[in-house]
C-alpha cells in the first residue's frame, strides 16, 4: 500500500498507525520516496540514510505488533537540523570544518524522540553554524523554498522548514538563536516554535550563541508542534541552563482543548514598534487579516510599547557573536574534523584549518565576537549589550502586565530571492521581529496566516508569550489556525 504523505500530520500518522492502516515501514518508505521525488529541486537534506531509517521503522513495527509501542508516535520520522547530534551520524552544521565528524552521542532531544519511538530522519541543511537567514550560507548546497524554487527558504533552519513544507517529513527539529525557526517557518508556510529559553535541553545542539540558542519544532500544524515539544521538553541534568522543573507536558492536550473555543477574555498586545516600520504590503495585509480573525473570535487587542526594540539587532549581534567566537574556537582540527594537511606548524594548523574550514559569514562573526570581547572594548560592547538585554527583557515584562500575548509580524517581507540580500547588514535586519525574544528568553510561535496577493508566498504571524506560557501560546495559536481564512498551506511542488 502506498500512502500520500505530502500533507500528512504527525497526529494523522499516529491515528493511521494505531488503526493498523499503515505500518511504520510503509510510512517511512513513503517519506523516503517523497524525498527522492522532490529533494532534487528542494535540496533540504544534506544526508538521508534510508537503510538506517527503514531498520528503525521495522523495529517500530515489531514493537507495535508485540503490543509494546514506545508511544502513539512509534515509527514516525522527524527531520533533524544538521546542528543537532545523532549518535553514529555526521553532524557538520553545514560547514566544511566538521565534514568528517561522526557524533559519538545523541543530543538529549534526539534521545527523547527515540525514547518515544520517533525516527531521526536525515541531516537537514542550514546556514553554516546557524549563522544566516536564508540558508545560502551552507557550505554544501542551496536549499530552495518549495513555494518558489527561485526563493530562499529562510534560515538558518531553512532545510527543516523546506522539508516540512515540501512534505518530505511531517515534522523537523530546528534551532532558533535569533529567529532561525520562526523566520523560515514563515517563509515556507509552516508552524515554527521558539520555546522559552531553558524549556528544551541544548545538550547535543552545537552551540552558536549559548544564551540565545533554543531547539524547537517545525511542523504543519500547531498540534504537531505541541506533540514534539511535549516529547523533547523538560529538565535535563546535562544542561544546567535547562529550567529545573518547567511544566513541560500537556501542550498537545491544551491544543485539543482549544479547538472549538473562542478567544474571549484573551488580551493581545500589538507592540507599536513592530508596526511602525518597514514591513511589506503583503506582510501587513496578512497580519491585519489575522488580527481581524482573532477579533471575531473575541480577542481584545491593545497597543503596547517595547521601547528598546530599536537596540535589539545591535545588542543581539554583540552577544551572539561574542559567544560564538568562543563556541567555535574548538573547531581547530586538533582532536577531530578536517585538519589542513598543508600546515607546517601549529600556528599554520590553526590558520589554515580554520581559514579553509569556515565560510565568510562565520569568519565575519568570529572576528566581530573576538573584537567585542577584547580588553579595552569589553565594557563598551559586551557589558553594555548585556545591560540593554536586561532593558529589553523588562520591556516584555512590562508589556505582559497589560496583555496575555503579543502579536507581531515574523518578518518584514515574504521569502526573498537567492542573492537578493548581498549586504550582510541588510540580511541581519531580516530578523528584526524575531531576535528580541531570544534576548528576553520568552517563547514565540510563527503560524502561517495568509498568502501574499502578488507573489503567492506565505505570510506568517508571530505570537509571543511570557516565559513558560507555552500552553496559552499554543491554545491561541491553534484556535487561530482553525479560524484563519486561508486553510491550506501546501506548495504545489
Amino acid at each position: 500500500m502506498s500512502i500520500e504523505v505530502k500533507t500528512l500530520t504527525v497526529a494523522e500518522a499516529a491515528a493511521l498507525l494505531a488503526a493498523g492502516k499503515v505500518t511504520a515501514a510503509q510510512l517511512c518508505r513513503a517519506y523516503l520516496d517523497r524525498v527522492q521525488t522532490v529533494d532534487g529541486s528542494v535540496k533540504a537534506f544534506l544526508k538521508c540514510d534510508a537503510e538506517r531509517i527503514m531498520a528503525a521503522a521495522e523495529a517500530a513495527d515489531q514493537r507495535r505488533a508485540a503490543g509494546t509501542p514506545r508511544s502513539p508516535y512509534d515509527g514516525i520520522p522527524v527531520g533533524i537540523k544538521d546542528c543537532i547530534v545523532t549518535a553514529g551520524e555526521t553532524c557538520s552544521c553545514a560547514s566544511k570544518i566538521l565534514a568528517p565528524v561522526v557524533s559519538p552521542y545523541d543530543a538529549t532531544v534526539v534521545a527523547r524522540l527515540k525514547a518515544a519511538g520517533f525516527i531521526p530522519m536525515g541531516r537537514l541543511n542550514m546556514d553554516e553554524f546557524a549563522m544566516g537567514s536564508s540558508t545560502e550560507n551552507s557550505a554544501y548546497q542551496r536549499t530552495a523554498n518549495p513555494w518558489d524554487i527561485t526563493r530562499v527558504p529562510g534560515g538558518s533552519s531553512g532545510g527543516s522548514a523546506a522539508a516540512v513544507a515540501a512534505g518530505e517529513v511531517a515534522v523537523a527539529l530546528g534551532s532558533d538563536t535569533g529567529g532561525s525557526i520562526r523566520q523560515p517557518a514563515a517563509f515556507c508556510g509552516v508552524v515554527g516554535v521558539k520555546p522559552t529559553y531553558g524549556r528544551v535541553s541544548r545538550y547535543g545542539l552545537v552551540a552558536f550563541a549559548s544564551s540565545l540558542d533554543q531547539i524547537g519544532p517545525l511542523a504543519h500544524t500547531v498540534e504537531d508542534a505541541a506533540i514534539i515539544l511535549d516529547t523533547i521538553g523538560g529538565h535535563d541534568p546535562r544542561d544546567c541552563t535547562s529550567l529545573p522543573e518547567p511544566d513541560c507536558g500537556g501542550l498537545a492536550a491544551a491544543v485539543a482543548a482549544a479547538r472549538n473555543g473562542d478567544l474571549k477574555g484573551v488580551k493581545i498586545g500589538l507592540p507599536e514598534e513592530y508596526f511602525a516600520s518597514e514591513s511589506s504590503a503583503g506582510v501587513k495585509a496578512g497580519v491585519e487579516a489575522a488580527i481581524a480573525v482573532m477579533k471575531e473570535l473575541g480577542a481584545e487587542f491593545v497597543s503596547v510599547s517595547l521601547p528598546h526594540t530599536k537596540y535589539a539587532v545591535a545588542t543581539y549581534y554583540i552577544i551572539a557573536t561574542a559567544e560564538a567566537s568562543t563556541n567555535l574556537a574548538r573547531f581547530d582540527g586538533i582532536r577531530y574534523g578536517a585538519r589542513d594537511q598543508e600546515a607546517q606548524d601549529l600556528t599554520e594548523v590553526y590558520f589554515k584549518t580554520r581559514g579553509h574550514g569556515f565560510g565568510d559569514e562565520v569568519k565575519r562573526r568570529i572576528i566581530l565576537g573576538t573584537y567585542v570581547l577584547s580588553s579595552g572594548y569589553y565594557d563598551a560592547f559586551y557589558l553594555r549589550a548585556q545591560k540593554v538585554r536586561t532593558l529589553i527583557r523588562r520591556d516584555f515584562e512590562a508589556a505582559f502586565r497589560q496583555c496575555d500575548l503579543l502579536l507581531t509580524p515574523v518578518t518584514p517581507t515574504t521569502a526573498f530571492r537567492f542573492g537578493e540580500k548581498k549586504d550582510p547588514l541588510q540580511m541581519y535586519l531580516a530578523d528584526i521581529y524575531t531576535i528580541a525574544l531570544n534576548l528576553s528568553g520568552n517563547c514565540g510561535i510563527s503560524i502561517p496566516a495568509a498568502l501574499e496577493a502578488d507573489s503567492g508566498m506565505p505570510v506568517g504571524i508571530q505570537l509571543i508569550g511570557p516565559a513558560l506560557a507555552e500552553k496559552q501560546l499554543f491554545a491561541v495559536a491553534a484556535r487561530f489556525e482553525q479560524a484563519r481564512k486561508e486553510q491550506v498551506f501546501t506548495p504545489a511542488l
Binding site: C240, E323, D332, T370
Partner: protein, 481 residues
C-alpha cells in the same frame, strides 16, 4: 651590589581530589593509559555542555575556609580564551572577577629552608578560584602527543598577595599551603604527578620605595626547591641588572633546573588577551550562610592549631611540633599515641629520632608502618615504669618495626625485662668490682667518673637488662663502703 627589597607573590595550582572530573563524569585518576579517561565533554566535542562537580566546589570552599578566606555569596564561572592544543575547547572554564574564595591568609614561622629563622608573619591570599585543568602535552621528537586524561580535572588556583620577601618565605608559604590542602583532604599535592604547580611573580625595589619594581613571572618550577633556587637566581640576576642601571622589562621566564638558571619565554607584548566573559553554559553559584557554616563545621584541625595544641598540651618544643605536623598522617599518629602515654614528650623524641629514621630507611609511609602508635606509647610507658631500660627499648623498637608485635610480647618472648631485683644484680656488681681493681683504685682516689665504667661492665654482664639506677646505687654502696 646594592641591596634591594624582594617582593614575591605566588600563583599555585592545586588539583582537587575528586572521583570525577570538573564538568563530566570521567574518572579523575593519574597514570592511566593516555586518552582512556575521556568523553565527548572533556574532549570538547560538538554540542557538549559542562555539568559542574559539586564536590569540587565544596572542596574549594573548604580550602578557602582553611585559609581564612571570605566566601562570597555569589560566584560565577567565566570563559578564558586562548588557542593551544592542550585546550579541548580553546577556552578554559575558569573564574575571573567573582571567585569562590577571597581575602585569606596563611601563617609562616619557624626555621626556613636555608636554616635561617623566618619572621613570624601572615602571607595574604588574594583569592582561590576553581577551573578545569588542561590536557598534558608530551613532546615526542618532531611530533607532540596530547593526553586528555588530565583535561577537565578540577583545579584550584591560589593567588597570594605580594607579601613574601625571600626565597625562604616563599618556600615556607608553599609548605604551609600544601599542608593545609593535605590536612583538608583537598589534594595530595604530589608535585611529581602535577597535582601542585607553582608560578612565581618576583620584583625588586630599593628599600623604602613604595611602588613595585618590574614584575617577572617564573614558570616551570617543578619542586619547592626549584622555587627556592629560581627566586635566589632571579634576585641575583635582577640586582645585577639594576645595579648596572638597566631597566627591566615585564616578562615571563622559565626555570631550567639542570642549568640552574632562568630563561626568557615571552615579553609583555606577547601576552595573551584572554577575553574573559561569563560562561553562558553554567549558572552562577549562590551560597547561603547556612551552607558555608555547614562546611565550616566539617573543617579538620589545621596544622597551625595542632602545633599550638602539641606545645600547650604535650609540652613539646615548637620545633618538635613543626616536625610532627609536617604530614597529617604523622600528626595524627603522634596525637593518637600522645593521648595514651603519660610521657608525650618522650614519645615525640622517639618518633622524631627513631621512627622517622626507620621509615626513611625502609621507604615506608607512616600509615603502613608496623609500629602502631598504641604499641609505641605502651613501650614508652614500660620505660617509665622501669619494666625496660632505654637501651633495651632500642632492641624492642627494632623488633616492633620488623614484626609489628606489641612491646610486652617482645619483652616476654625475648626475656628482655629489666632486672630490678637486688638479689640478682648484687652478684654482677661484685663480679665487676672484683675484676677491675685498677678502676676501683682510681675511684677511691677521687675519680667519680669511673662509676660509669662500672655501670657499663655490669650492664654487659646483665646483657643490658639490669636496672641502671639500681646498678649505680649498688655500685656506690660497695665502692664507697
Amino acid at each position: 651590589m646594592a641591596e634591594y627589597e624582594v617582593v614575591i607573590g605566588l600563583e599555585v595550582h592545586v588539583q582537587i581530589k575528586t572521583r570525577s572530573k570538573m564538568f563530566c563524569s570521567c574518572a579523575n585518576v593519574f597514570g592511566a593509559e593516555p586518552n582512556t579517561m575521556v568523553c565527548p565533554v572533556c574532549m570538547g566535542y560538538p554540542g557538549v555542555m559542562p555539568t559542574p562537580n559539586h564536590e569540587a566546589i565544596r572542596k574549594t570552599i573548604m580550602a578557602g575556609l582553611m585559609c581564612d578566606c571570605d566566601i562570597p555569596s555569589y560566584s560565577k564561572f567565566d570563559r578564558k580564551s586562548y588557542f593551544y592544543p592542550d585546550m579541548p575547547k580553546n577556552y578554559q572554564i575558569s573564574q575571573y572577577d567573582l571567585p569562590l574564595c577571597l581575602r585569606g591568609r596563611i601563617h609562616i614561622s619557624g626555621k626556613g629552608f636555608s636554616g635561617e629563622e623566618l619572621p613570624d608573619k601572615y602571607i595574604g591570599l588574594t583569592r582561590i578560584h576553581l577551573e578545569e585543568d588542561v590536557a598534558k602535552l608530551n613532546h615526542l621528537g618532531r611530533t607532540s602527543g596530547v593526553d586528555f586524561n588530565r583535561a577537565g580535572v578540577p583545579l584550584m588556583e591560589c593567588v597570594s598577595e605580594p607579601d613574601m620577601r625571600s626565597a625562604d618565605e616563599a618556600y615556607a608559604y608553599l609548605t604551609a599551603l600544601k599542608q593545609i590542602m593535605q590536612y583538608g583532604g583537598i589534594s595530595d599535592c604530589d608535585m611529581e604527578k602535577g597535582q601542585m604547580r607553582c608560578d612565581v611573580n618576583i620584583s625588586l625595589r630599593p628599600f623604602g620605595q613604595k611602588e613595585f619594581g618590574t614584575k617577572i613571572e617564573l614558570k616551570n618550577l617543578n619542586s619547592f626547591r626549584a622555587v627556592h633556587r629560581a627566586v635566589n637566581y632571579e634576585i641575583a640576576r635582577q640586582s645585577e641588572l639594576l645595579d648596572a642601571g638597566e631597566k627591566l622589562r615585564q616578562e615571563t621566564r622559565g626555570w631550567n633546573d639542570d642549568r640552574g638558571e632562568t630563561y626568557l619565554m615571552r615579553t609583555k607584548e606577547q601576552a595573551h588577551d584572554y577575553r574573559y566573559f561569563p560562561e553562558p553554559d553554567l549558572m552562577p553559584i549562590t551560597l547561603d550562610l547556612k551552607r558555608v557554616d555547614e562546611y565550616r563545621r566539617q573543617l579538620p584541625e589545621l596544622p597551625e592549631a595542632m602545633r599550638r595544641r602539641f606545645v600547650a598540651d604535650y609540652g613539646l618544643t615548637p620545633y618538635d611540633a613543626q616536625v610532627l605536623t609536617m604530614e597529617k598522617a604523622l600528626a595524627e599518629y603522634y596525637d593518637c599515641g600522645a593521648k595514651l602515654t603519660k610521657s608525650p614528650k618522650t614519645l615525640a623524641n622517639w618518633i622524631i629520632s627513631d621512627l622517622l629514621c626507620e621509615l626513611s630507611a625502609s621507604g615506608q609511609t607512616i600509615s603502613a608502618c608496623p609500629v602502631t602508635p598504641e604499641h609505641l606509647a605502651a613501650m614508652i610507658d614500660m620505660i617509665d615504669a622501669g619494666a625496660i631500660n632505654n637501651r633495651i627499648a632500642k632492641t624492642v623498637f627494632a623488633e616492633m618495626a620488623s614484626s609489628g608485635k606489641p612491646p610486652r610480647q617482645i619483652v616476654a618472648e625475648k626475656g628482655l625485662a629489666q632486672v630490678s631485683d637486688e638479689g640478682a644484680v648484687i652478684p654482677l656488681v661484685e663480679q665487676a668490682i672484683a675484676a677491675n681493681a685498677p678502676q676501683v683504685q682510681q675511684y677511691r682516689e677521687g675519680n667519680e667518673k669511673v662509676v660509669q665504667y662500672f655501670v657499663g661492665q655490669v650492664m654487659k654482664l646483665s646483657r643490658g637488662k639490669a636496672n641502671p639506677q639500681l646498678v649505680i646505687k649498688l655500685l656506690k654502696e660497695r665502692l664507697d663502703g
